[in-house]
């Protein structure tokens, strides 16, 4: 017992190699996860000072733009459970035009994160999605952390809110329920953007950091099960029978891919901004969990039980959709590709398992002294238990 606990706390090269072989992941994911393990066991994380961040940021932007720049009002930004985020105003030259006070967002990786991802992938995805939907414009990237001290990304700030001002919710927007008038405005846009993402053709040169599972095979399903199975093995604090049974079921029932899509990976309430008075969606955020694979995963993520809300005792998905049928209808009406209910059910089990791993594996491990918001991650981990109940109910229905 002590052996495995010690290995997770201070991974050896041999243990890392065994995990990589047992759970083959796409190259850029493998790189991010391996980097995480090699960093593990280092001293507790302390955020750098604003002065240090400002100085590094100045160097990063200056190296990638023309003329003098000025950074003002650098400050922390709340909202996410993953990256350390800052907002600031920038004076700079954009395409030959002098601009003053443009608001920007800096996203930095802390020493560990609930999701270990790759800023290059995020940069490529946001650039890809920009023509399809409102996405913050991405400007500069430090993908190896050589300037900022940690991998980082700078994008434009987009105005908007995650939830109505008079509605309460849990952390990271979970539990947000929208009143009917707002639902009527948001749902068609939300469905349209998701449908557009999934249908978007992926040209040969697009998204070079991503692997492309073959259509007509189960590679796409195996790829994501390996990704998250590896995360679980790397991060778990307690072995879990329900996780074991779920992984076994997912592998035995892996679906075949019928169309290769860009999958956002976290397309839920809390990860889009909107104008409260008009109901206009202003930005789709948090692209770091995206990958190329099966569109059903994005719909399944929304209908997982964790994101259930209630109105007059009636359950809703993500505070937006009255039922799975209502969501699928809206998606297909918005021009989405056809939805196969059996594949949707498989992806719901997968997405619920991913939430379980994020809660009781990744959040706890990262939040054990390695981030700027350990107490938030510790709090979030409690969500793993209702998720376990959701897994149990789904597996029971499927067996």
């Amino acid at each position: 017992m002590q052996d495995r606990i010690a290995l997770r706390a201070r991974p050896t090269d041999q243990w890392i190699a065994e995990l990589r072989e047992r759970y083959p992941a796409e190259a850029s994911i493998d790189e991010a996860l391996t980097r995480k393990l090699k960093r593990r066991g280092q001293p507790a994380y302390h955020s750098p000072s604003f002065e240090e961040i400002g100085e590094r940021l100045h160097r990063l932007i200056s190296a990638g733009t023309e003329g003098d720049i000025a950074i003002r009002n650098l400050r922390s930004l709340t909202g996410g459970a993953s990256k350390e985020q800052f907002v600031f105003e920038l004076d700079w030259i954009d395409g030959g035009v002098r601009r003053t006070g443009d608001r920007m967002v800096l996203r930095c990786e802390p020493a560990a994160s609930i999701v270990e991802t790759d800023r290059r992938r995020e940069f490529e995805l946001m650039s890809f999605a920009g023509p399809l939907m409102p996405v913050p414009r991405v400007h500069w990237i430090d993908d190896d952390g050589s300037v900022m001290g940690t991998p980082a990304l700078v994008s434009s700030f987009v105005a908007g809110v995650q939830k109505p001002s008079k509605v309460s919710s849990n952390v990271t927007g979970m539990g947000t329920h929208f009143p009917k008038a707002l639902r009527d405005l948001l749902v068609p846009q939300y469905a349209r953007y998701m449908a557009a993402l999934h249908k978007a053709p992926i040209a040969d040169g697009d998204l070079p950091s991503f692997s492309r599972p073959a259509v007509g095979t189960t590679e796409a399903a195996e790829q994501i099960v390996n990704w998250w199975g590896r995360c679980w093995q790397e991060d778990l604090y307690e072995p879990s029978v329900i996780s074991l049974m779920t992984e076994d079921w997912l592998r035995r029932n892996a679906p075949t891919l019928d169309h290769l899509s860009v999958v956002h990976g976290d397309f839920r309430t809390g990860n889009f901004l909107f104008e409260e008075d008009t109901g206009q969606i202003t930005a789709i955020l948090d692209w770091e969990l995206g990958y190329l694979g099966d569109r059903h995963a994005d719909l399944a993520w929304v209908v997982t039980d964790l994101y259930r809300t209630y109105e007059d005792g009636k359950p809703f998905h993500c505070g937006l959709f009255e039922s799975t049928d209502a969501f699928v209808d809206a998606y297909e009406a918005a021009g989405g590709l056809p939805i196969d209910r059996k594949k949707l059910a498989w992806h719901k089990v997968f997405c619920t398992w991913k939430q379980y791993i994020l809660s009781l594996g990744c959040a706890l491990r990262a939040g054990d002294g390695l981030t700027h918001q350990d107490v938030l991650l510790s709090w979030l981990s409690a969500g793993g238990y209702p998720i376990a109940e959701s897994l149990r109910l789904q597996l029971k229905a499927a067996e």
């Binding site: 109940e389 597996l395 067996e399």
Partner: protein
């Protein structure tokens, strides 16, 4: 023993809510959010702390019941390591001179060997037996899941209100030793 855990947690919460929170710069949303979470976490611990020992004993008994059921369905002992872990969990569950962390360690070892044993047996028995084991294991996890949900219900993440029990109710439903 005074001051009790309960009193100490209440006084910490009062200080944080009534003295520290109003002193935070309203523009520092990150600090305010984290302080609210600290207060929430202390409230959660205040509710959990009285049941912590009972929880671990119940957890161990549930896993012992699962190990015995899987062995019965497989028609064979699962592994010597599992038998040893079951014996330790049963032992610490009946002693008075044992710390909470000793019970947790015993449960951890049992959970790990149980997962290893289930994984192995599912890959070695015939398909029908594997299906029967899977069904039984999934059914038996209900008891554990119910307990875990009850323990963290105050975080507000639970979405199955019809089956959410109080901590006491969930512990009373655990298998007898």
């Amino acid at each position: 023993m005074q001051p009790s855990f309960d009193l100490r947690i209440r006084t910490m919460n009062k200080a944080l809510a009534e003295v520290v929170l109003p002193a935070i710069d309203p523009d520092n949303k990150a600090a305010a959010e984290q302080l609210q979470l600290v207060i929430g976490s202390l409230n959660l611990m205040q509710e959990q702390i009285d049941y912590a020992n009972w929880y671990e004993i119940a957890d161990g008994r549930s896993m012992v019941a699962m190990a015995e059921k899987v062995a019965e369905l497989a028609g064979q002992p699962l592994s010597k390591e599992l038998d040893d872990a079951v014996a330790v969990t049963k032992d610490v569950g009946t002693r008075h001179n044992v710390t909470l962390s000793q019970i947790r360690d015993a449960n951890y070892a049992l959970r790990e060997t149980l997962c290893d044993a289930i994984s192995k047996v599912l890959s070695t028995v015939d398909a029908e037996t594997a299906r029967a084991i899977s069904r039984a294991v999934i059914d038996l996890t209900e008891d554990q899941t119910s307990r875990e949900r009850a323990f963290v219900a105050k975080t507000g993440f639970d979405v199955f209100p019809d089956t959410l029990k109080s901590i006491r109710e969930s512990l009373e439903a655990a298998p007898a030793g």
